[in-house]
Amino acid sequence: MPLANTPTSVPVEVDEGKCIADKGCTVCVDVCPLDVLRISDLTGKAYMKYDECWYCMPCEADCPTDAVTVNIPYLLR
């Protein structure tokens, strides 16, 4: 059977103005236990690639520029 992509709103939000991934920072990608964050080839900034979040918050706590916010995802609100 063929595969399709289904849209989903994800909890991790990155402020691209503050994110310094384009200068080589990978802290949030490194610390995420679920390994769901990546650096975008397009923008050079961090983003949440996979909707597999535990809302645990190391990405937000360890970000050196306070660029990351972990929101409570919609189904839990």
Binding site: L3, L34, D35, W54, C56, I72, L75
Partner: protein, 578 residues
């Protein structure tokens, strides 16, 4: 990142520790301390800095045996009773004797524990009988402090490698592991003289009602690989039918934590604002009362703090919102719920395996040795009951010290290189398909069936239906699962472990034909406990390629339990309401 690459490397070490959460770092650290010449590798699927159940820290110790407050004898007795008599006391007693020295060691690492005005540990009573709960005011720093010690002890850390199968040598000893890089799919074979598994709970077994596969009570990286790998290596697993089920905040996957609130006067209440259990310490017996209340006309169940002074309620809220699961604060903020104003609705978690809270684990003795020579287990995946974080640290330390001595005495046990080739093929099979079923759908279906059929109350006919359906899913997993990148490859291996754990949960539960541990193993068609037949461990293992269960006698008690104490944990319900 994530593109699949071909690759196979091999390294050797004296001791391999798999899992860098709580028990693993302590095991590796203590092994290096004991034998500074030994080569110790710590393998971690995520990153040791922030991995495991205490990724964001912990708000306190749930089971601290501190001189002047409690004794190892009292603690051993309490846990034996809480675990409904099925307890090899030697491991619990040893933990109870050693955990105080671990607290002092952690204190030396800079992890502080609450002290009173006289400088004494400020231990609180939460359990039914004894006093064992010690708050940790800077509990958010645990992982940082541990990581610093690992670097100082020069433990070799390999992050983002997921172990998939243990290697067993020709003389039957643990010989290492096969691992896959979670971002490239390249293989790593690690040869070792001894292996310690510290791979956490099987927390992704039941499906949270929120609909999020990863919205589990446990850190969802803890998907049961330890249980599955130990099983395939021929190790015995104990009491898997003693599920973990915990009280949670409704919708939010963090614990409701009457532990934290209890000492300040908070408690679990029903919808009539009434307390219905005397003791908020988590046990199967307590969960049965919780479940009964939830289903009754007095349900649902709440965490009640709104009778306390606002400053007290706010203080508890502050602790709960900063450590262990800090997104809890954000959850309540969004809902507009304040602990000081109204009761907080609670619910029960999905099922899992986790000896940290219950007793389901790879069987170990008081040296953390499994039934396979040279293979150790510690933390949530090892069978020492009600272990919690301090148990993971203490038993990790015990495992590290015993294993490094074992490694000193033996040479590498040669293994069949064919095993590596076969395992590579098993792991990579889904990457060779053009289309098929993605891992997340196989996972959803497996875990939905776990909820539909395996969640207590346990019913024989439902369990047998579940086994048939799980066999169909196994056929899909082995023949039709498709994987497109390295990240999905990791998920595909996790779902294989989840399916193994679901099968083991069903098999062990059907074997024990009685009810025990309250809700954890409540069988509607065998509602009573039967000490004559079942006052024993149920050991599950793979024999001649087939899942098998057998009885194993409970070791004679070191600390005797009087007849009138045995049922203390069944006397939790408050009968006369004030």
């Amino acid at each position: 990142m994530d593109d699949l690459r071909e690759g196979l490397n091999e390294v050797e070490c004296d001791l391999l520790v798999i899992g860098g959460g709580t028990a693993g770092p302590m095991a590796a650290y203590r092994a290096r301390k004991k034998n500074p010449n030994a080569k110790v590798i710590l393998l971690e699927k995520a990153n040791v800095k922030r991995s495991g159940a205490i990724s964001m820290g912990m708000d306190g110790l749930n089971n601290a045996v501190i001189p002047g407050h409690s004794t190892p004898e009292q603690y051993t007795k309490e846990i034996t009773i809480a675990n409904d008599g099925i307890c090899d006391q030697a491991a619990v007693y040893k933990y109870a004797q050693q955990c105080y020295s671990i607290i002092e060691e952690l204190d030396g690492f800079g992890i502080r524990f609450q002290k009173d005005e006289n400088g004494e540990y400020d231990v609180k009573k939460v359990h039914h009988m004894g006093t064992y709960v010690l708050p940790m005011p800077n509990g958010d720093t645990v992982k940082k402090a541990l990581y610093r010690q690992l670097r100082r002890a020069r433990v070799l850390i390999s992050n983002r490698f997921m172990a998939t199968r243990l290697l067993i040598g020709k003389s039957g000893r643990a010989a290492g592991t096969i691992a896959v890089n979670t971002r490239t799919g390249e293989f790593l074979v690690i040869k070792a003289k001894a292996v310690i598994m510290c791979m956490g709970a099987a927390g992704r077994l039941g499906l949270p009602t929120s609909g999020y596969l990863y919205g589990t009570y446990e850190n969802p990286t803890n998907s049961g690989e330890g249980y599955a790998m130990a099983y395939h290596a021929g190790a015995k697993l104990a009491n898997l039918e003693c599920f973990q089920i915990n009280p949670l905040i409704k919708d939010y996957n963090g614990p409701a934590c009457a532990y934290v609130a209890g000492p300040f006067g908070g408690y679990t209440a029903n919808s009539k604002n009434e307390r219905f259990i005397e003791c908020d310490y988590w046990s199967g017996q307590m969960m049965q009362e919780f479940y009964n209340e939830l289903q009754s006309g007095n349900g649902p169940v709440f965490l009640k703090l709104n009778h306390l002074h606002k400053d007290t309620a706010d203080h508890i809220e502050h602790i709960l919102h900063t450590v262990e699961r800090p997104s809890r604060g954000r959850f309540h903020e969004q809902r507009g719920t304040k602990y000081s104003e109204k009761m907080i609705e609670m619910h029960i978690s999905e099922i899992g395996f986790c000896s940290g809270h219950s007793a389901s684990g790879v069987f170990v003795d008081e040296f953390a040795r499994t039934s396979v020579a040279g293979l150790y287990a510690a933390g949530d995946m090892a069978s020492v009951p009600h272990n919690y974080m301090l148990g993971a640290f203490t038993n990790g330390a015990i495992a590290g010290e015993d294993a490094i001595d074992f490694a000193e005495e033996v040479d590498f046990d040669d293994f069949d290189s064919e095993a590596v080739a076969l395992e590579r093929e098993r792991v990579l099979a889904p990457t060779r398909r053009e289309d098929g079923i993605p891992p997340n759908q196989i996972e959803y279906k497996t875990r939905r069936l776990v909820n539909d059929y395996l969640q207590p109350p346990k019913v024989t006919a439902k369990y047998e239906l579940c086994q048939q359906r799980l066999a169909e899913i196994r056929d899909d997993l082995e023949n039709r699962m498709v994987v497109r990148d390295a990240h999905e490859l990791m998920r595909s291996m996790e779902v294989a472990s989840i399916l193994d754990c679901a099968d083991m949960a069903a098999f062990a539960s059907l074997y024990r034909k009685e009810s025990r541990w309250g809700l954890y193993h409540y069988r509607s068609d065998f509602p009573d406990s039967n000490d004559e037949e079942w006052n024993c461990h149920v050991m599950l293992s793979k024999q001649n390629g087939r899942m098998t269960c057998e009885k194993q006698a409970v070791q004679p008690y070191i600390i005797p339990i009087a007849d009138d104490e045995k049922d203390a944990y069944y006397k939790q319900r408050i009968t006369a309401q004030a």
